[in-house]
């Protein structure tokens, strides 16, 4: 499909005999919010790790913006325009929130070693530009209060937001969010839902996310992919997927089907 921003074909990852991901194919259109759901161990985060090139797939292809992702090294993924958050927050603990976000700007570095060593006016201008962009993200996510706090001292809910902010600071085209609402309370999840909507409408960023909170999924997603045991079991709009028999079976087991049949 030529309109797709990202497409995966027959993606597989085998660890010895275990098929963590088996023949997964899907495509994400530009500007949509695409969600991966599935019970634990379905392989959703593994798919993310494959896209981020942390793992090398055993089979299959991935294309981003028409470019073959398999030819890209892990540290080049961000410069292509793919940003991600991690399930278990991977922030830089011994740095401030501002520093974390500035690191997110790294792919936009234009200065050379010599310029940085001498801190030429070009380097200074570059730093100001970085700071300007990062401040936009801080304002977008209401993090001004925490700007100069060490990450190590922040509560979990705020860290999740900083993780998101750092990914946004990259200035991505595709945002991979790994369980953005896990560990958040109801208000924080509400906030996250609004932000996701803003990311789509105001920033025009495509979002590919893994999520367990079905109400959040239903609210923000355009399309949903259900996985179980490394394989795709359903693909469609949130309503279609949530009523799909295979999906219900994967989450709740066949007893539910039997009970429903009895009535």
């Amino acid at each position: 499909m030529s309109g797709a921003l990202f497409e995966a074909e027959g993606l597989s990852l085998h660890f010895g005999g275990v098929k963590a991901v088996n023949g997964v194919s899907f495509s994400v259109r530009a500007g949509e919010i695409f969600t991966l759901i599935g019970p634990n161990g379905a392989g959703k985060t593994t798919v993310f790790n494959l896209i981020s090139r942390i793992y090398q797939p055993s089979a299959g292809t991935m294309r981003f913006n028409g470019q073959d992702l398999l030819a890209v090294a892990p540290h080049r993924v961000a410069s292509l325009g793919i940003a991600r958050t991690f399930q278990n927050i991977e922030l830089f603990e011994n740095a401030t929130v501002l520093a974390n976000l500035l690191i997110g700007r790294h792919t936009h570095r234009t200065t050379t070693f010599a310029q940085e060593l001498l801190f030429t006016p070009a380097a200074r201008a570059s730093e100001r530009e970085f700071r300007y962009r990062v401040e936009q993200v801080i304002e977008f996510l209401d993090l001004a209060h925490y700007r100069d706090t060490m990450v190590a001292g922040l509560p979990y809910g705020v860290r999740k937001v900083v993780e998101l902010a750092r990914a946004l600071a990259i200035g991505p085209k595709l945002l991979l969010l790994d369980e953005p609402s896990s560990g958040l309370n109801v208000e924080e999840t509400e906030g996250m839902a609004f932000w996701m909507s803003d990311i789509k409408h105001d920033l025009g960023i495509t979002v590919l996310m893994v999520e367990h909170d079905m109400s959040l999924v239903g609210r923000v997603s355009d399309r949903v992919l259900a996985m179980n045991q490394g394989e795709v079991i359903a693909l469609g709009t949130p309503a279609e997927v949530q009523s799909h028999s295979a999906v219900i079976e994967a989450y709740l087991g066949t007893a539910v089907m039997a009970v429903e049949a009895a009535y």
Binding site: T45, N49, I54, F86, Q87, N88, E90
Partner: protein
């Protein structure tokens, strides 16, 4: 036959390295700390044995027991006094503390009047005796080293295989907080491990003493035990011994076949080659963070 001689002396030396490396790995497995003072613990053990045997005229067995017990207690005391307060600090800081301990131990020994700066020989009965088998002359001291090492390995293997201590130690080294929650007495365990490691060091020192001499800089041999532990894979007990043997043999062969000077760098070249080929050592595991 000369080759056999070289191999044998390499194996005997390798056993010493292996024993010291074993001490490193014991502590690393339980606390993920590297004890840079292991060589100094060995030196102290040798001196205490010397004190009992040559100084107080005790029979050899009693002197050995004295050294082992005193060092074991010293190990526990060091863990309690110096290491427990800094648990939670980055590994780098803890390593620096052990380096500091090594310095202190060396310095303290030199201050003992008349003894600190001298070199002594441990006059064990088998010191100069040899056994001839098939045309090869083997020092009894070397045989004793190999035999005791093998025995000690068997004992430690049984300890870790058949008791829960081994699993408890590994658990607390990977995630201390979780270990506490599981009811593992982490602090007591750390103390035991340090005591055990110090005892092993004392035995190594006493085995080494008849072959070289007992002097304050004896502990520098400990620096060669690091390559041994790394070659075997830091975190593997059999690896420590195997690594020690590899280093001992490499050194022995280099000393004979290569020009002068290569013998001293042989362990370090071997470790670099090993890290190039197998970054986690022979028996080490590649642990990778799951994100």
């Amino acid at each position: 036959m000369q080759l056999l001689q070289i191999l044998l002396s390499g194996i005997a030396q390798g056993c010493i390295y292996g024993l010291i490396a074993l001490g490193f790995v014991l502590i690393y497995k339980a606390t993920e700390t590297v004890n840079f003072a292991q060589g100094e613990l060995m030196m102290l053990g040798a001196f205490i044995g010397l004190l009992g045997f040559a100084g107080w005229g005790w029979p050899l067995a009693a002197a050995v027991l004295l050294a082992v017990v005193v060092m074991a207690l010293a190990g526990v005391a060091v863990e309690r006094a110096v290491l427990r307060p800094i648990l939670g600090q980055p590994a780098f800081a803890i390593v620096m503390v052990t380096i500091g301990l090594g310095f202190v131990a060396r310095g303290a020994v030199t201050m003992v009047p008349n003894v600190g700066t001298e070199t002594f020989a441990l006059e064990v009965p088998y010191r100069f005796s040899t056994v001839t088998a098939g045309g090869v002359v083997i020092g009894v001291a070397q045989i004793v080293v190999i035999a005791v090492t093998a025995l000690l390995c068997a004992v430690l293997y049984a300890l870790f295989r058949y008791t829960r201590i081994g699993i408890a130690m590994q658990a607390s080294s990977q995630n201390q907080l979780a270990a506490y929650y599981m009811g593992i007495p982490v602090k007591r365990l750390n103390g035991i491990v340090w005591g055990l490691s110090a005892a092993v060091a004392a035995i190594a020192g006493l085995l080494l003493a008849p072959i070289t001499f007992v002097h304050v800089n004896m502990g520098f041999i400990g620096l060669k035990a690091f390559p041994a532990a790394v070659v075997g894979g830091f975190g593997s007990l059999p690896g420590a011994i195997v690594g020690g043997l590899v280093i001992g043999l490499a050194e022995s062969l280099a000393g004979f076949y290569l020009p002068e000077g290569f013998k001293d760098v042989a362990p370090y070249v071997v470790v670099l080659v090993m890290l190039w080929l197998k970054p986690n050592g022979l028996f080490g595991e590649t642990a990778r963070k799951k994100v």
